[in-house]
């Protein structure tokens, strides 16, 4: 049985793979979608986060075994927080 760390890594690896595939193939079914992954498998692709979380909750009750990704987002950019106090 895969350990938690293994499952989390499987989820992240799959998410990275989906992002790369979507970049290379505009016909990918995941282009422009928010995707929910559980236990190393895609369980939902939708237009809203709520649809994704609902799908994940039905598939896997433990959030630590799930992963969400916005296929269209660029997670490599640095976000600026201009001011707190």
């Amino acid at each position: 049985m895969p350990t938690m760390t293994t499952i989390q890594q499987l989820n992240r690896d799959l998410a990275d793979k989906l992002v790369e595939e979507a970049k290379l193939n505009p016909q990918s079914p995941y282009v422009g979608k928010k995707v929910g992954i559980a236990n190393g498998q895609v369980v939902v692709a939708a237009n809203t986060w709520r649809e994704v979380t609902r799908g994940l909750e039905q598939a896997e009750p433990d959030p630590a075994k799930t992963f969400c990704i916005d296929i269209g987002a660029d997670y490599s950019t640095v976000e600026m927080i201009w001011e707190v106090f």
Binding site: R12, P63, V78, E79, M80, I81, W82, F85
Partner: protein, 132 residues
């Protein structure tokens, strides 16, 4: 049209959100600095809150996000349920999990979240509000 307004806190604009804990369904109110300088419309996150809140709410993990400026480094991202009852707002939004929220506050509402609404003082300089 609905409007929610909150008094300035330390002369700063704030909003209140409601989170729901996964275990037991307890609802808790969190006060966030309304910070239009936090992120942009292209940001991967909408709010920044204590990571413990993200976990207690059963937040679904997402890709980590790199921040610069007032918060620097790589932070975990979760998708959590956020409500603003006065506005009838109830949605799942991407939230950065902070280890150290700003002093005296529970977190920040970034530009992408604030900009979901009409926002401003609506004629009261001692308050900040959101309007649908």
């Amino acid at each position: 049209m609905a409007r929610a307004q909150w008094p300035l806190l330390g002369d700063r604009p704030v909003i209140e959100i409601v989170l729901t804990f996964a275990q037991g369904g307890q609802r808790v109110t969190r006060t966030l600095l309304a910070d239009t300088g936090a992120g942009s419309m292209q940001s991967k996150f909408e709010i920044l809150v204590d990571e413990n809140d993200c976990l207690l709410c059963g937040g679904k993990p997402s890709h980590s996000v790199s921040l610069a400026g007032a918060y620097t480094g790589t932070y975990p991202l979760y998708v959590i349920r956020v409500e603003i009852p006065l506005l009838g707002f109830d949605d799942d939004v991407p939230a950065i999990g902070l280890t150290t929220p700003p002093f005296g506050l529970d977190g920040l509402a970034g530009f992408r979240f604030i900009n979901r609404f009409n926002y401003g003082n609506f004629g009261n300089p001692l308050a900040f509000g959101l309007e649908t």
